[in-house]
Structures are given as C-alpha cells and as structure tokens.
C-alpha cells in the first residue's frame, strides 16, 4: 500500500523544511529591529491604512464556480476509464449519449455564466 510511503515522505519533507528554516536562524546575521523595518512593506512609503477596503465578491464567485465545474470534471473520470470496457460490453452508445447529455448541461451552465458576465474581471 503506497499510503505509508506518502506519509513517510510528507513527514520527511516537513522535517527537512523545518531544518532548513532552523539552519537559517542559526546562521542568520545580526538582528537589527527598527520600527520602519518591521512595518508592512508598501513600496517604501509610510503605511497608508485605508479604513474602508472594498471587498470584491468576484473571488467568491470564481471559487464557487470552480467547485461546481470541478465536480463535473470528477464525474467524467470514471466514465473515461470505463468507456472502452462499456463499449466492449455493448452499452457504449448508451453511455456515450448519457455523458453527452451531462456535458450538454455543463456547456449550458458554462455559457450561461459567460454570457451573464459572472466571470468578468476588470
């Protein structure tokens, strides 16, 4: 079972990364703290904290549409692996038509989204 290998290499890489960071801390130069240096970087000008930041809902829309289309793509994967088997078993045409209906719904959804300008980024 490859799961043991996956867990082993994940732990190994995490430990390696932490060791690298620790090495950097050990060998690091002299620490010099300054109020300006510690402030967030804004192209060298003193920080301008805007009290009102406009939050765009486009990120939310993009992420939700990504989830939906990702699920539809996931449904295509077992179909793709078993397509040749289903053709050999004689139900190939039926599987093809069923998947084409599904893809038609997918295409309709995608083109509706594009047309209704839900994915416009300006």
């Amino acid at each position: 079972m490859p799961l043991g290998g996956v867990i082993f290499i994940t732990v190994f890489v995490a430990v390696f990364g932490c060791l690298c960071l620790y090495l950097g801390r050990l060998c690091g130069g002299k620490k010099y703290q300054d109020a300006v240096k510690l402030a967030p970087y804004e192209c060298g000008i003193p920080g301008q904290e805007k009290k009102e930041t406009r939050v765009s809902v486009k990120f939310y829309l993009t992420a939700i549409l990504f989830i939906l289309f990702d699920i539809e793509i996931i449904f295509m994967y077992p179909w793709a692996t078993s397509f040749k088997e289903m053709m050999a078993a004689g139900i190939g045409a039926y599987a093809l038509i069923a998947m084409m209906i599904f893809i038609a719904v997918f295409i309709f959804g995608l083109f509706w989204e594009i047309k209704s300008k839900a994915l416009e980024w300006d």
Binding site: M1, T53, L61, I74, Y77, P78, T81, M86
Partner: protein
C-alpha cells in the same frame, strides 16, 4: 500491532485532533486550515479502506476546492477573532442539553456496535491494489444503476451555478462594501 492498524490509529488521531481544533481554536483562519487537515486525514482513511479513487476525489474536491473557498472568503473578511455569541435562557439551555444528550447517545451506540465488529477477524474482501478496477466498476455502475442520479446531479450543479450568480447579483453586484 500490525502496520495497517498502526496506520489507522495514526490517521484517526490526526483527523480527530484536527476536527477538535476546528472548534477549539479561536482564530478562524486556523480553524479552516485545521478543517483542511482533517479532510486530508479522511482522504487517507479512505485510502486505507481501498477506495483509492474516492480518496483522490476527496482531496481534489474537499481539500482542494471547498476549503480553498472557505479560506479565501475568510481572508477577504478581515476577522481577527471570532464573534462571541452566547445565548442564555431556559429554552436554549434545554435545547443544548438535549443536543448533547443525543450526541452522547449516538457515540455510545457507535462504540457498542463497533466493538462487536472489532472482535470479528477482519476479512478483506476487496483486493488492495485494485485502485483502477474499482473506478472502472464505479464508472460502469454510474451509467447502469445510478444513471438518473447522475443526470440529476448535473442539473443540480447547473441550478447551484445559476443560484450563486443570482445571489451575488441581488446582494449588490460584484463590488460589495466591506
């Protein structure tokens, strides 16, 4: 303790600790990241059961899409600490006690049922390395037995897409104030 059971206990511990951290940690971003960790743990548990395709799909959809959405939205709204909402009163107290009691009953029932199963010798009826065969069976099943659910799912996803866009529009368009 065999390697399989050690792996199971390790993954179960990781999943449970992450799940507990979701509710116990105060920073909401940490909560979301702990939830992502528990999703990864569940995906690994699926892999120990031999359902490799579902494990991969769990990673792709849950840990890689849904929780990225959660984390993105949480970062957009600049929450430093969680809002404290604590309801008082007799009715809400009764509801809380009833809920905890029901949950405890479920847990006790699950424990007692699973002890029976653990005492039987485990028989693996699924070939462990048959990752692809299972997904081929899944594909064939999807198109023979569950074809209606499959098409209905496509339509459901379409409805969700249209609903999301409509919801975003009705709340003030694609530029919402903080």
């Amino acid at each position: 303790m065999t390697a399989d059971s050690f792996l199971f206990w390790l993954l179960a511990a990781v999943t449970l600790v992450s799940g507990l951290s979701v509710v116990l940690v105060s920073n909401p971003i940490y909560s979301a990241l702990c939830l992502a960790m528990s999703m990864v743990g569940i995906s690994a548990l699926f892999a120990t059961l031999g359902a490799y395709f579902i494990a991969g799909v769990q990673m792709i959809v849950y840990a890689g899409a849904v929780l990225v959405l959660f984390v993105m939205v949480l970062m957009l709204f600049d929450l430093k600490t969680e809002l404290a909402t604590f309801s008082r009163g007799k009715i809400s107290g009764l509801i809380k006690i009833a809920t905890v009691g029901t949950l405890a009953g479920f847990l006790a029932g699950a424990f007692s049922m699973s002890i029976e199963f653990m005492e039987k010798p485990a028989t693996k009826t699924v070939v462990a390395e048959a990752g692809v065969d299972m997904s081929r069976n899944l594909g064939t099943l999807l198109f023979t037995k569950y074809i209606l659910g499959f098409e209905a799912l496509g339509i459901l996803l379409l409805v969700i897409a249209i609903g999301v866009v409509g919801l975003a529009r009705s709340k003030g368009g694609t530029h919402a104030k903080h």
